[in-house]
Amino acid sequence: MPSDHPTNPGIELPPRRGAALKPLFDGAEWDFKLVNDVYDVMHGIAIGEMGLDIYPNQIEVITAEQMLDAYSSIGMPLMYRHWSFGKRFAYDEAMYRKGLRSLAFEIVINSNPCINYIMEENTMTMQALVIAHAAFGHNHFFKNNYQFRQWTQADHIIDYLAFAKAFVAECEEKYGQDAVESVLDAAHALMNQGVSRQLTVRQRNPLRREIERERTRREHVERTQTVLDRTLPEINRGEPTEKTAATGEQRRLGLPEENILYFLEKHAPKLADWQRELLRIVRNLAQYFYPQRQTKMMNEGCATFTHYEILNRLYERGQLTEGSMLEFLHSHSSVVFQPAFNDRRYSGMNPYALGFAMMRDIQRICTEPTSEDRDWFPDFAGNGDPMGTLRDAWANFRDESFVLQYLSPKVMRDFRLFALRDDHKDSAVVVRAIHNERGYREVRRQLASTYDVAAHDPDLQVTDADLSGSRRLVITHTVRNGVTLDKTECERTLQHLARLWGYRVRLIEIEEGATKVLREHEVLPMP
């Protein structure tokens, strides 16, 4: 949860209803017992009343410096060593020291048990807020959303990271930091192309088995390889023993292949086994983070909705003091603040704001629907079961489909959304739809498509690889709406790709459904 959104003035306390219990705490100070007690009460609300389903929680108290540490290793408690994390740390630290950016209140990790980092300098109210947010909200989402269930294995991620860290360290020892770095640099450059979007059997390999696999492979090599073997010239594993017809070869390589890292790991002619393993590690991490990119808005929305609900219920029963409630509302309203597009503070749609607004709206539609809602959402309008409806949405949607399914005209009106088209040939940006009867569906469709990660990342596929002849690798970029790749970035990335492949690499950009090549890049690996 970011802590530095601009504040939204004018907070009013909601009226208290119901019986007054004793406040759980008063004042800013917290200690471990108090956190424990508050957790237990909130657990009752989250599980008993809201019906959430969570992994067991582990709450870890850390300092600001440790929070910076955690930032730089993508929030993971363990990570292999790489200079880019050091760079990120230096950058974050500089921003933090200059006061340009404050730290997040919490970091939560999709693991089992679910690890929540909370900062020691938070007040007790903030601790309650972040625990409700992360330990219940995010945790429920991690455990139940289909994306996470399909793609990540929360049980094994920490073990796998430990393995990855040890493996990278071992490679550095054996082959030198430079050699390892150059492979990792290249792999990181291709990380977004290291994801398989279609589920196949090979990605269902549990991470636990990954560790096992690497160990048995190495044992096998150690058993069978003798000193004499090393004097033999290295055999290119990718080289076919006999020439096959081009199409046969393509089929054998499984082309076209969208997961470039996977393809390189399996078929790059020049890589050593340990280099392939490094690619595999980066690829597995990319796959692990892929659901987070697909569900950022829903995930934050779910967590924000959960903390809002839990703290309000605490307050209603009198378990939260008015002072704490004001402090909470102040933080909450700055987190869900959405500046308008022409505001200086605007930096894109705030996922917290949109997610929270949509989920509150679903709640409203379930309990107090208008006739408009009944037209738009006949399935659940007025069904009187907001939590059940929300749990269903959290489990079975990702950002794109969630917007497409649940964005209501009311939210569009509240946000005053409007759809624009920017054609680079045109001197003006055209407004295509606004929040009115004619525009709702168009705005909703377009907003949904901006949340489609697959459309956001360039569509690149390995389309041809000549393993017996020139060894040239061909990547095809399927251009949509005429948007080509950023030229300098593309060439730098291709350089990395060529280094892994070991031979010439060609990238062609072709408009979807056409045959004309728009642009072509070609690089040779630098010696």
């Binding site: 956190v35 410096e65 540490d69 050091g86 740390f89 330990a135 920017d422 680079h424």
Partner: protein, 429 residues
């Protein structure tokens, strides 16, 4: 649920990442450090430093959609005035809806950024440039030169370190606790026994009782030792940093017009290195800047390095000024005196004898070390051409182990003077 307190975990988990990052950007950071040294005061050489670098080695490219091509659709919040079909003119440069782009830390903007180097990291790079051997670097950075100091007591040690008071106190306590009978007690019983034996009629029962009691007490005295190994206490010593003292460092420099900015910069490097060295060994280091042309004056650092003056060159004036300051403020009994003189080798010819006399008679006897460095432009630096100062100083160099002279024309030649310093004074070697 489980709460874990991680606050006490080892800090800087990302140290390894940072080292890799610095290694990666080394060339650029070194440039930045060089730049920083120019703007630093001599006494500030070992503080942390903000550096700003721009490095192509730090790029992390990835495939991304380029701007300025094709058709883009977007949805923005906060519409107030627009209707479907409205056309909004793009701002100059064709950015259009560029506002919608989220600021990402991995964007191009990060190619250049500034961050802080720690003191250690800064010194590492500073030393790197001066071509210091690694051994010496360690010594320069190592603040402590250990010396044993009392640190409590221990139950084990060499006999020479036995602490009698503590040992006897333990022994006494143990004897009292175990009720070890004293010699006097036994004597008293023996007297009673003697009395009882002399008594008539003999009370055999009493005699037997006294005898067994004496027997028991004697046995106790034998089994309970007067001093037991567990009583022993030894003085314990720990190696702690040696108490440091104070030093004063004189920086003498010729500032006549022939000393260019470049030569002064070389001299500054040398003074900085000396200062780092001194602060490692002395608790308090004072710096006195004396500049001279034909007259000498004590000045502040800014004037020393930046100011120029015109006039001839009379080195003895600076030496006299230095002795004046020594007599007034820095008694050789209390202060370690170091002096470093930088010059381009020109001196008023008649002045040399006076200089040598001052050095031999007054300065060298009170100085820990006197270093003369002659800064020279590349083309002037040749063995055949000896400057007047150089040939003059050569005469006294042999007889005085605490005098060193060296010519430098680039930063990496500064260190040899220091090697002399370490090998001769034996302070750190």
């Amino acid at each position: 649920m489980q709460i874990v307190d991680r606050r006490l975990n080892p800090k800087s988990k990302s140290l390894g990442n940072r080292q890799r990052f610095l290694r990666r950007a080394k060339a650029e950071i070194r440039e930045a450090v060089k730049e920083a040294i120019k703007n630093r005061r001599v006494s500030e050489v070992d503080g942390s430093e903000r550096v700003k670098i721009k490095s192509k080695n730090l790029r992390e490219p990835s495939f991304s959609h380029g701007r300025g091509s094709g058709i883009r659709d977007m949805v923005l919040p906060g519409n107030e005035e627009y209707h479907a079909g409205d056309r909004i003119d793009k701002p100059q440069g064709g950015g259009g809806g560029g506002r919608g782009r989220e600021g990402s830390p991995d964007g191009d903007g990060q190619d250049e950024f500034s961050f802080s180097l720690s003191r250690e990291e800064f010194l590492d790079l500073f030393f790197d440039d001066l071509a210091l051997p690694n051994m010496v670097k360690v010594k320069l950075k190592d603040i402590k030169s250990p010396k044993p100091a009392r640190a409590g007591f221990t139950s084990d040690g060499s006999p020479a370190r036995l602490n009698h008071v503590r040992t006897m106190r333990n022994s006494l306590g143990r004897r009292i606790a175990l009720r070890r009978p004293s010699e006097a007690e036994i004597e008293k019983l023996e007297q009673q026994l003697a009395a009882a034996e002399a008594d008539t009629p003999r009370d055999e029962q009493l005699i037997a009782k006294l005898r067994s009691e004496i027997e028991h007490k004697r046995r106790l005295r034998k089994t309970i030792a007067y001093i037991d190994p567990i009583d022993l206490r030894f003085n314990r010593f720990e190696r702690v940093p040696k108490p440091t003292t104070q030093a004063v460092m004189f920086c003498l420099m010729d500032v006549s017009a022939s000393m260019t900015e470049n030569l002064k910069d070389l001299a500054k490097r040398f003074f900085m290195l000396l200062h780092v060295f001194l602060t490692r060994h002395y608790r308090e280091v004072h710096i006195v800047f004396i500049r001279h042309t034909s007259q000498a004056a004590v000045v502040d650092e800014e004037t020393f390095f930046r100011g120029t003056d015109t006039g001839g060159t009379v080195i003895s004036s600076a030496l006299e000024e230095m002795m004046k300051v020594v007599r007034a403020r820095y008694s050789p009994a209390d202060w370690n005196i170091y002096a470093a003189q930088a010059s381009d080798g020109d001196n008023f010819h008649d002045d040399m004898p006076r200089c040598l006399e001052l050095l031999e008679r007054e300065i060298l006897p009170v100085c820990q070390y006197f270093a003369y460095i002659e800064t020279a432009h590349g083309e002037r630096y040749s063995d055949t051409m000896e400057t007047s100062v150089w040939s003059g100083y050569t005469e006294i160099a042999d007889g005085h182990p605490n005098f060193a002279m060296k010519r430098v024309s680039s930063p990496d030649e500064i260190f040899p003077v220091f090697r002399d310093l370490f090998s001769r004074t034996g302070v750190a070697a």
